[in-house]
């Protein structure tokens, strides 16, 4: 059984663009939007307490929506680094978006759809809406999947912009224990989100091996550790899943 796509006769009929967008927005509303918004309160307060304007904070969340890269860009700009250093650091911090987008494309693909739609939608690929889409899309009609993703990500993007503004103005009023708890929500939420759907063996192996290799590879090379842990852990996990299937089959 392929966990990424159910047999087409099991899929529901297409609900149409606006209904699919609303369904995606509904899935993202409340809990996911609150958690992501809270993470962006951390970003907004960081920008606010370091002398940059709200306009920068919002512009950054608007145009480069992916928290680790935003923090890297802001830190380096404040430290007076050159543009090349900013570009490299952000590229490195956000490299995970490449395999994520690669994997989402075949899931939401519809034969004959104009390529620009995929390129436009990819602007919104970020961990939360990606993980939610990977979990939900296989149960939707193919025609609805990209719309569902757009509804989900637009909701989370709006929550991120709102969180950025709240954090910017609340920076000096928020008690420190609360800000620390808000910042820590991000890894907690990601961790639990990935554990929601573990039917796919290859995915389980990948999560375990990536987690196990994360610390040693980071100690070896803080810049490249994430990428190496992903490549090594992911390759090992895919090989193990194939082997297991061959033995079972």
């Amino acid at each position: 059984m392929d966990a990424h796509d159910q047999a087409s006769e099991l899929l529901p009929p297409a609900m149409g663009v606006s209904a699919a967008i609303r369904a995606g927005a509904h899935a993202a509303a409340l809990a996911p939007a609150l958690v992501l918004g809270a993470s962006y309160v951390g970003f907004g307060s960081y920008v606010g307490s370091h002398g940059l304007g709200l306009d920068f904070a919002l512009f950054n969340t608007f145009t480069a929506w992916a928290l680790p890269g935003q923090l890297a860009a802001t830190e380096l700009y404040l430290a007076g680094s050159g543009l090349l250093a900013v570009a490299l650091a952000v590229a490195l911090a956000n490299m995970r978006l490449a395999p994520m987008t690669v994997v989402m494309m075949p899931v939401v693909h519809v034969a004959g759809r104009a390529a620009w739609r995929s390129y436009a939608a990819a602007f919104f690929v970020a961990v939360t809406c990606w993980a939610m889409t990977m979990m939900t899309a296989p149960r939707l009609a193919r025609a609805d999947r990209l719309s569902w993703f757009i509804g989900c990500s637009l909701t989370l993007w709006s929550a991120s912009l709102a969180g950025t503004a709240v954090g910017f103005y609340a920076a000096e009023y928020l008690p420190r224990p609360l800000t620390l708890a808000l910042v820590f929500l991000n890894p907690l939420y990601f961790m639990l989100l990935f554990l929601q759907d573990l039917r796919d063996r290859a995915r389980l192996y990948a999560l375990v091996s990536g987690a196990a290799l994360g610390v040693p590879f980071h100690l070896l090379t803080p810049e490249w550790g994430l990428l190496f842990a992903g490549l090594a852990g992911g390759t090992a996990a895919a090989a193990l899943a194939r082997r297991r299937r061959r033995i079972a089959g």
Binding site: L52, Q70, N94, M100, T101, H109, F168, R176, A181, L182
Partner: protein
Amino acid sequence: MTLPEFSPAGAYIAACVAAAATYFWRAFGVAIGSRLDLKGPVFEWFASVAYAVLAALVVRLVVFPSGELAHIPLAVRVGAAALALAAYALGRRSIFAGCLVGACVIALAAIWH
């Protein structure tokens, strides 16, 4: 309170560079991913790499956090994640319960400190 009104032009240029460096990977992903077969081995490899990178990212955010969070002892951070997992499992796989418990542990540790 005094807040800066507008950010300098240099900040905008840096933000544009950051936006380009971020979108680059997304566009790269579309270019490669649009040609992939959902059932092929290449897709499976990319999927494994994506989930492994994200698991490594979570571990890094907990074990090697940047900024203020680094002042909370490592044992507390790992303990908070473990308790969040336990709450998630006991709370019938409730992400909300897990997040709440984990965040409370961090907040209490920060108050205690």
